[in-house]
């Protein structure tokens, strides 16, 4: 089932259950289209996470099914992907949610004096 841009605007965090790999892929695609190898390299640099190729393709298929990314015409054997408007909206909502949780966590650590 595809996620609409409106879901993102409505504040629904549709990325909560898609897994870390999918979120990292969306973050990587946020600054422009990339193909598989470029995504793996970028995510390694960005987050220090080495995505396995099987994990990568699984996440790409899931994100495409949800309508959060779309394939571009193949460049030789490589298929670049780009983030859709719905994907960008969903990523924004997810990052906002992470920021809120992160702030609450820091505050509680402060209050707990740990």
């Amino acid at each position: 089932m595809a996620v609409s841009e409106r879901d993102g605007r409505a504040g629904q965090d549709v990325l909560r259950r898609v897994g870390e790999a999918s979120v990292l892929i969306l973050i990587s695609l946020a600054d422009g289209p990339k193909h598989g190898y470029a995504l793996i390299q970028d995510i390694k640099e960005l987050a220090g996470v080495e995505l396995g190729p099987g994990t990568l393709y699984g996440a790409l298929d899931r994100l495409e099914r949800l309508g959060l990314i779309e394939p571009l015409p193949a460049d030789d054997r490589r298929h670049p992907y780009r983030i859709t408007a719905a994907g960008a909206a969903a990523l924004r909502v997810h990052l906002d949610s992470l920021e809120r949780v992160s702030a609450a966590g820091r505050l509680r650590l402060q209050l707990g004096g740990i």
């Binding site: 193909h35 190898y37 396995g52 190729p53 298929d61 054997r77 298929h79």
Partner: protein, 139 residues
């Protein structure tokens, strides 16, 4: 691992994916594996990751289908094994109970006095005696 062997290993694992996946990603996936191996990632680790991905690809329902045929077959097989495993202990214990000798005095056992094994009850209906842990009940 030498290059032809790693290539064969990756190719073999990629054949585990569903045909629709191979048509779409197969060539790119083989090229990606070659690039990652040349970057120093162990071929075995790449093969395992592709293998796990293949299992997920088979188990992921396609749009318009609730579950792929293979996933259904696996579920049915797992269900049958589960039922068999569940039935086996109960039939074994039931058989053991029927064939075992009564233990303890008759007054310890609830229910009416039992006929001798092989006897027909007064109601004219054969009864099966099931016993366990020294107590018996008739049914």
């Amino acid at each position: 691992m030498n290059e032809p062997r790693t290539t064969r290993l990756v190719e073999a694992v990629l054949r585990c994916y569903p045909a629709r996946w191979r048509r779409r990603h197969g060539d790119e996936a083989a090229e990606l594996a070659a690039l990652l191996i040349s970057d120093g990632i162990p071929a075995g680790s790449i093969a395992w990751n592709y293998l796990a991905g293949a299992a997920r690809a088979w188990l992921t329902p396609r749009p318009g289908r609730r579950l792929s045929t293979v996933a259904c077959a696996l579920l049915v097989a797992a269900g049958s094994l589960g039922v068999s495993a569940g039935l086996l202990p109960s039939t074994t214990s039931a058989r053991a109970a029927i064939t075992s000798q009564p233990q303890g005095p008759a007054h310890c056992r609830p229910g009416p006095p039992e006929p001798e094994p092989g006897m027909i009850s007064a109601l004219g209906r054969p009864r099966v005696i099931i016993q366990g842990a020294g107590h018996a009940r008739s049914c």
